[in-house]
């Protein structure tokens, strides 16, 4: 067992976790952020994509102790209260979601992309979401929503600033 301290969507958390548990299960089952979805638990579908210090990571491939000291953003952390992020709004405007199960993963991958590269080409968008599988939409509207968000001048979405107190990576 490991005690870890990290921040998730701006909130500081201290949790006792199993060494072999994945970040995905801890985020869902212990921290209660169920917007992060399991789809394959093998790093192949991208449904569990989260931001770790701003970088997109498959939470199913990260061990829970590795969360220690990190700033984590999940889909629940994208909106500012009632106000959706530009990207979230564009997904709705473009009907870029259907069943919605893969949507959090796409939003996290695309958020990371736009933070890094506010004006991506279409090919850069496709590459950024190539690790995310969607079975409903046919992707076209997802790509268009991300393009539109980029053109609307999405402001960088900072990982919310509540420094986790822990820190020492094992």
């Amino acid at each position: 067992m490991h005690t870890i301290e990290f921040s998730i969507n701006g909130e500081a958390l201290t949790l006792l976790v199993e060494d072999n548990q994945t970040a995905l299960r801890v985020i869902r089952e212990q921290a209660g952020f169920t917007g992060t979805k399991p789809g394959c638990e093998a790093g192949e579908c991208g449904a569990c994509t989260i931001l770790v210090n701003g970088k997109p990571v498959n939470a199913c491939l990260m061990l829970a102790p590795e969360l220690d000291g990190k700033e984590i953003t999940t889909v629940e952390g994208l909106a500012d209260g009632e106000n959706l992020s530009v990207l979230q709004q564009k997904f709705i405007d473009h009907a870029a979601l259907q069943c919605g199960y893969c949507t959090p993963g796409f939003l996290m991958s695309a958020t990371a992309l736009l933070n890094e590269n506010p004006h991506p080409t279409r090919q850069e968008i496709v590459e950024a979401i190539s690790g995310n599988l969607c079975r409903c939409t046919g992707y076209k509207r997802i790509i268009e929503a991300i393009e539109d968000a980029a053109n609307s001048g999405t402001k960088k979405i900072p990982a919310k600033k509540t420094k986790a107190k822990g820190g020492a990576r094992k």
């Binding site: 869902r28 089952e29 209660g32 952020f33 169920t34 917007g35 992060t36 979805k37 399991p38 789809g39 394959c40 638990e41 093998a42 192949e44 579908c45 449904a47 999940t74 889909v75 629940e76 994208l78 909106a79 959706l84 979230q88 709004q89 997904f91 709705i92 405007d93 009907a95 979601l97 259907q98 069943c99 919605g100 199960y101 893969c102 949507t103 959090p104 939003l107 968008i125 496709v126 590459e127 979401i129 190539s130 995310n132 599988l133 969607c134 079975r135 409903c136 939409t137 046919g138 992707y139 076209k140 509207r141 997802i142 790509i143």
Partner: protein, 789 residues
Amino acid sequence: MTQDGKYTEIGNSLPRVDGKAKVTGAAKYAGDYYFPRELWAQVVRSPYPHAKIKKIDTSAAEKLKGVRNVITGDYYKKRGGLYLADKNFLAYQTVKYRGEAVVAVCAETREIAEEACRLVKIDYEELPAVFSPMEAMKKGAPLIHPDLHTYRVAPIFHPVPHTNISHHHVLRKGDVKKGFRESYRIFEHSYHIPHVQHVPIETHVTTALYDTAGSLTVWSCCQSPYAVRAALADSFDIPLNKLRVISEFVGAGFGSKAGTTIEGIVIPLAQLNPGRHIRLDYSREDEFENAYVRQGMYARIKTGVDKKGKILAVENEFLWDGGAYTEYGVNIVKAAGFAGAGPYNIDNIATDSYCLYTNHPVGGPYRGFGMCEIHFAIEQNIDMIAKEMGISPVEMRKINGLRPGDTTNTGEVMKVSGYQDCLDTVIKALDYNRKSAQPKDKHKIRAKGIAAGWKSPSQPTDAASAAIIRMNEDGTFYLQTSAEEIGQGSNTVLTQIAAEVLNVNPDRITLTSGDTTANPYEWQTVASRTTYCAGNAVKLAAEDLKEHVLDLAQIKLGCAKRDIHLERDDDHHMTWVVATNHPENRVPISTFALGLTLPDGSGIGGPAIGTGRFVLPNNFAYNMEDSQSPKPVAFWTIGVTGAEVEVDTQTGHIKVLQMISCFDPGKTVNRALYDAQVEGGMIQAMGTAIFEELMLKDGRVLNKNFVDYKIPTADDIPERLESLIVEYPEETGPFGARGIGEPVMVPGAPAIANAVANALGHHFDHMPITPDDVLEVVRGKKSKSKAKR
């Protein structure tokens, strides 16, 4: 609707009403519910495709600390099934496919449950197995269900006793012998469609609680909570009022979650542990092997045509690889039997569609319900005949495609048919008649292809739906249905229908569904029937509530209700009840929410509730001998897809450059959601055409993960993906609408196959068309037939 007869909602692109919940992570799927001290279930699976269970030793597993129960098929002796009662939730006496659940364990943690599974010892005696429908048909083949003749079956299905045939569907129209005699030429073609998987991104998850007061609640990712409730109640002899099924959002279904799947496994475990929640999650590997798969199929089509290309006779045979249990599969086989000659005006048809038991994973409904499979054959067949006759595939379809007044395979006269308009629209948009411009790279060949398709809902002729709408005190509404939001957009479309009738802004309506205790009956969310069936129920409920409001408004406004209308006022976030001839005489609709208070202080009317009950008004049973009926189905949805491909003759890679579809949804309720469905359907079809196959060897699934089973990614989609529309209203549809969710996938794969054939001069008799297939043809080798029987 406005006073001048314009729709306020129907035909708009209202943003999804579930959009905000889905982009914020607020939408709850079955797996998102965790409960204190929940117990985890896991199952032991069969390593054999067909074997007798001789002995099960659970003692070591039971001794493991943290294990609560280890149960076997003895808990599930009662067979169940939607149309044919052939299935036990855990194997009983024999296992019939590799991966079948044999023992279920529940324990304090999922790790302990998994460990306990490893400790269960099972002695099997292997039995001879059957891995193709042709083997299954052979005289003397091992019988997978020797007691088939004793099984309960819906009367429209015809299992053949003491064989592996669980349904033989027969359609006879006209006189095929005469048709062939009169034919100028006769063609015979065969095709093979492999098993594929639905691949919803949400795997199956379920949790059950048997509470200490004796009620059972199941949180399930299911498309049809009422059907699941009925099946579970029947299997476990639970009264319906003690069984609640909750399924708010579903992480896509495509048919995979249409029946009762893993819910049955956890119920006995819940009953053994009153007060504890029992949870079972499918891994992705489980999902590939143990959720429903799309059945494999072999098709043979014999076609007789006259000199001009008019089809005079079709004789076809479909052999379906139904897998170990076909409780649902038999109905797919029936649907294929109904529609087997395609959307064409043909006088003489003989179709035989067989459902065969094999020792393969269990076949079940998959978007298209047999239509994607048969159209891969039908639409390539049309192109192949056209080429042999020296006429264009377009002309072939113009000659034979259904027009209003023509009769269907089942003898129904088509009142409306958008076939020809959809064809014209796609031909124009794709510029089909102009050959593809070839790229500079000589190793790449571009070509175009088209295909048509049709589908009707395969549902009982008396399938029923209900809806309730309640007005709150402030003039907002709750709309209650049990249509399931599985991504198709039903919550949005049904909200629009209610908003249209009541002239209220859709944001004043909250739709609730996915809970059998709270919401009224719906047969199933399948068959592309929701907009039509649930839509009609919602429309009737809203009209019922409106009547109630107008009755009271007569008193309040002092005029007859024919002279009263509802008027939407978005500026003030409200709806007015207006005396049409004296518009200043108006009150907010909320005036009538709890009834009307009269001047003397007394009340009248009571709370405003509207109910809608819909049952198919126009469906009649078909004749069992020949499948003929004046109206056997609710409606036919027809459309056409065109594709342009680029085939790389060095690598064998097929790149789809364009896909364009046009369908006739009768009346589009939500254009953006229509387009989104069409686009998604095309890409799912593209996956089956060039990537997807569940690889089976000796009953073993070889590709149970996303690395080995590739579905399309963002990088694979065509540069142009376009959705077009023609609208011929459906007489009995709400505002003229008919369903489109599944039909939009149907012509996609054969359109790509026809385009590839136009590039290479060779029609492949199977899908997916892989780089190896392409290279064989490029290198001048004879392409391996996979359709051989």
